[in-house]
Symmetry: C2
Subunit: 683 residues, 2 copies
């Protein structure tokens, strides 16, 4: 305790010497320390991941509640390594005590494929004689093998090869010129790569062959645009400036902004992790979410022809949304006054690496926050809003995901995802029928139907950890038109269905009832409405999983079978498709289905510490406008306070303009208010 | 023709002397000319509306196609007047020939209630002895009648009074102080006002009486906020500036921006009307929409107790979205470089009136337009987007609707609506059960459940007027898991169902198939995908009408029975609930159901000039955070080009940053690109 106090005091003196907050991601020094601790006891290893072993919730909640007296959670590292021969070891390293706390061989799993793993494959395929032979068959001479590229994907699961050998599939392309987009020149065959032996062990060759595309390149780089007539010249600049700086205060990785307090974490897997989100409600700091993250995703493609069924990437679980994160730069990805945070990882050899500017934090004007005019006299109030955006962008081979966690002043948390990048493409012969499984977006280029299904993990903490989830449907009143109770037939209400067990909570979206879900604290009622304080999930882009029940994807991506799952909180249940996702067969399904089965699907989730898992996304039928690079397609969901506050919590945001009826009547016209920037409005 | 040519020449000399474009709203001079023409032939009249009689489509299309040789459509005024005794006359005045072209008595209708009509009621209720008596009963002494307020609404339809007499219902409130929000003090009775005799003809009094609320005021004006501790001081200014001005060019009411060309109209009813929207596709000006507008809306409330069934305002058809429009001001409602347009109307006496700054036109940064990074070498392109926003805000008594028509560079048209303002409230006794029909948002204040259902009118012109509407559903392939055709069960495709008749086109939203609708030109195929050029309606906030089939609202708001209706184009079919909406019984239903019945519900809408009507919106169960003024709740839909362009149409938007693989390889690092503002990027 004393040392903790001393540390805290030291922290006040020099910010750089501050001890990491227990939620902070591991620093490069901590990653290196972890490796050196492991090296003392174990031989040569490939480091797959070293990330914060997150403090156990009970321990962390106790410390947050009383950091003077409760023990500070230890710094620990969660480690995944691969030993020679492909043996996987999962470990936990205690950094406070410089020791390995856990070290287990985990049989029959394949940890995710890192960027380093991916980078190797292209070099191997270019030299493989069977690949060279296949390239020759589709029309690429052997001397052009340097023009052959591949996007290496995890193999997903292929029953012919199982899970024992670490495999990748190489989606093959060709670039006439190094600056041409290879996605215009997909090759029709698919080599299978053994990551252990670094060789091609098989090539999937279609029955119908498709020679290399003869169409001219379809590029988007500056030289190509210049050749086509150049850039448009009619866009005048918009400058967004904050001369007095930002409105948020950052202390370490803790952000304070407009009553919000948020800890910004990051890991190789989920990318941004937001912890212990609270809202200062007139001096009362109220917990809302213990942890928010995008925890998994799956992108199933809809072409049933072999081997396209293998295209159903779990981009977070199989590659890592953190590992694939872009280094962002001012004015390009974000505008205004930006605060960046870096991300630290381990590389295969055990050295710490850093992605600079992995997280962008900035504010934006949010338009009208509220307005009302009295039609009698034009007395009015109009107030502009502001939003805080914590974002990252990650590139999954051809595609990019821009992830924006948006905090609004009124207590709303918004998750917006923009999809951009390049469609995954496959070869087609001139005049070939796509059978409706894809679209010819450019001559010879078949972009297959696909879905982007994300799994949002919400660990609610609505005025405390004991929460209950309700399904809310807009339904019509029971009386028929003309009946006494509903004479005019206009009755309707919000039907709330409590989820008491994980089985009940496996629920789907229903647009016909405008279905939403409340995370409520039934122990605390709103003082006016007498309804439980709650946060409502409002999500409208909620397609069902298109692969059928019992299909490969359905088995592997158990989380995507329903829009909603609710589980009782457990420290180690973070990854909805399991800890190690590549090459899982789905028999049995990992992650959510396994947890529910083990806890008992009829166990209680009523008024206890629960986690809500929400699968949302979109189904994409490509069109030529999406090619050769896709204009960003946005998608959004809201977590909104309902019966949480006693009153609109933004009344004290300075109005842009306000004039009361008595000011109108007295002709003073004075607005008696301040502008959003604190200066007075003169009328 | 000669005079037209002269006029056009004159136009080139002095812009102010320009003849109005045929779509232009009537000017104040034209409104006054209309009145003076009418006055010559008719006695004293109350002017309810004078608006542009829109040029007939065939005539206008011919002129747009060939304005040198086709006759210029005449300027005409569409007139609604009320003669003494309440007789309604609908007329058309030909302004080119200074004559009345049509003048008809329209029996059994009530034209909309104007702002002037609304303003009168409060004065009358305050003096009515029976209202004074009722105020006494709920606890307001006669000397406080100046503190009694009312929001006059159209009566909707009340079977006891029918349609013959022009009526309003007065939703009653009390203000302890002129600056207090009266919505905290709703009164429990409802006077019925006869607009002809200007007297209260009836008062609806509930069986259970509810004395005036004893709770303290709940205000949002500056003095109230100051008293509660003042405004927050931690918001730093964000400045948005366009030092070189805007990127759009306005010629009259025609806007040219980023390949778009749009005529911005406005009328008392729909507010903003966008006409002849085209997109310059590499020199080829392609028509997309002939006309877009928000054509109607209905706000049904869900409390079945009498007389709340009458609360189902058709805000556009019964009051006018144009009439209720706010005068906007820089920095308050909009930010940046703003172009405003005024709106001209007639008042009851026949004088022209103007709402200054009724329409706001401005640009905003739109974040990332597209991005892709090659994981091999970090070669990258990132391009920021821009959007053009044409907006208005209208106040419907307690509530405000902020309507944003947003044009994106990639060909997408977005309609965003933000709901703000104040909840409609009703009195409740302490401890009274709301029966789930409403929420106690503040002591003594019951905010009833309600829906906001908007009807978007889309007159598509996708490469010409002959268009066809398809319903598009994401569906699973037919083969079972394990079958030859769908071995892995992953097959799915876009099932397109052609609407050949209005009956087939009456369709609902289906979230489980991510349902969208395509407006397609089946006569023109995309050169790559070979699919019809089309625009897709992507709309996800699509609740069904909650009032039951056969109910009062269902009968009156026929347009809201389905998410989609499609009709064959007819010049006079603009208003989905009929031309004159107040006091319609719904027997028979006006507007869309009547048109479909008269055209024949099995008549062809295949490959012809069609109109698509889309009802969308949201169902609102109030909560305390919505009170005393509601943080803006957004809602959006998209009209997206699909198979319309051969390629991403924004490739020539200057990137913020670009670096090709060969630049990376050569280490030049030069990006060879320009920033969005036209300046070069130095790396």
């Amino acid at each position: 305790m004393v040392s903790d106090r001393l540390t805290q005091l030291a922290h006040q003196v020099t910010a750089t010497a501050a001890p990491p907050y227990p939620f902070d991601p591991l620093s490069t020094a901590e990653i290196e320390a972890t490796v050196s601790i492991i090296r003392k006891e174990h031989g040569p290893l490939h480091y797959n991941a070293i990330t914060l072993y997150e403090p156990r919730k009970a321990e962390m909640m106790a410390w947050v509640a009383n950091s003077e007296n409760a023990p500070r959670p230890a710094r620990k590292a969660d480690v995944v390594t691969i030993a020679p021969g492909g043996k996987v070891y999962d470990g936990v390293v205690d950094l406070d005590n410089n020791e390995i706390a856990q070290w287990n061989h985990t049989p029959d799993v394949q940890p995710l494929i890192t960027m380093e793993d991916l980078q190797e494959v292209e070099h191997v395929v270019r030299k493989d004689p069977k690949v060279i032979e296949q390239c020759g068959i589709v029309g690429i001479p052997a001397e052009d093998m340097h023009k052959v590229y591949c996007d290496p994907w995890t193999i997903g699961y292929d029953e012919r090869f199982g899970s024992a050998v670490r495999l990748q599939q190489a989606l093959m392309y060709y670039r006439p010129h190094p600056d041409d987009s290879q996605y215009t020149y997909p090759l029709d065959f698919c080599p299978i790569y053994n990551a252990e032996t670094r060789e091609i062990i098989h090539i999937d060759i279609p029955l119908v062959r498709r020679p290399i595309n003869k169409a001219p390149p379809n590029n988007y780089h500056p030289a190509a645009i210049e050749k086509e007539g150049g850039y448009r010249k009619d866009i005048k600049p918009i400058h967004i400036t904050q001369p007095d700086g930002v409105s948020f205060v950052i202390n370490g990785r803790m952000i304070e902004w407009q009553n919000w307090n948020i800890h910004v974490g990051f890991n190789y897997r989920e990318g941004i992790v937001l912890n212990n989100i609270t809202f200062n409600d007139k001096g009362n700091v109220r917990p809302i979410f213990w942890r928010l993250s995008l925890a998994e995703m799956v992108v199933p493609y809809g072409n049933p022809e072999h081997p396209h069924q293998r295209k159903h990437a779990f981009d977070l679980g199989e590659y890592g949304g953190g590992y694939m994160t872009n280094s962002l730069s001012l004015g390009c990805d974000c505008k205004g006054a930006i605060h960046y945070m870096d991300a630290a990882f381990v590389n295969r050899a055990g050295a710490a690496t850093t992605i600079k500017n992995a997280i962008c934090i900035h504010e934006e004007d949010a338009g009208i926050l509220f307005k009302h005019t009295d039609f009698r006299d034009d007395s009015v109030v109009v107030t502009r809003g502001r939003k805080l955006i914590i974002s990252q962008i990650f590139t999954a081979a051809n595609y990019e995901y821009c992830v924006y966690w948006i905090f609004h002043q009124d207590g709303t948390v918004q998750l917006e995802i923009k999809l951009t990048g390049i469609l995954n493409t496959y070869a087609m012969n001139p005049g070939e029928d796509t059978h409706g499984w894809g679209t010819e977006v450019y001559p010879g280029v078949n972009a297959h139907n696909h879905q982007h299904l994300f799994c949002l993990r919400v660990d609610p903490n609505i005025d405390g950890p004991d929460n209950t989830v309700f399904q809310v449907d807009a339904v019509r009143g029971s009386g028929e038109v003309g009946s006494l109770e509903n004479k005019y037939g206009n009755a309707f209400y919000a039907k709330k269905t409590k989820f008491t067990t994980p089985r009940e909570a496996m629920s789907d979206y229903d647009g016909s009832t405008s279905r939403t879900w409340d995370m409520a604290n039934t122990n605390k009622l709103n003082s006016h409405s007498k309804k439980p304080v709650s946060y409502k999930l409002v999500s409208r882009d909620v397609p069902p999983l298109m692969p059928k029940e019992g299909s490969l994807v359905w088995k592997r991506a158990g989380f995507a079978r329903h829009a909603i799952h609710v589980t009782k909180y457990s420290d180690d249940q973070i990854h909805p498709a399991g800890r190690h996702v590549p090459q899982t067969s789905g028999e049995p399904s990992q992650g959510i289905p396994a947890w529910i089965e083990s806890a008992g699907s009829d166990s209680s989730i009523d008024n206890t510490d629960v986690v809500l898992w929400h699968t949302f996304g979109l189904t994409h039928f490509p069109a030529p406008e999406d090619y050769p690079i896709m204009p960003a397609e946005p998608m959004t969901l809201l977590l909104r306070p309902r019966h949480f506050f006693d009153r609109n919590p933004v009344l004290d945001v300075p109005p842009s303009y306000a004039r009361t009826p008595s000011q109108v009547a007295s002709g003073s016209g004075a607005c008696g208010c301040t502008k959003n920037d604190g200066s007075s409005v003169l009328v």
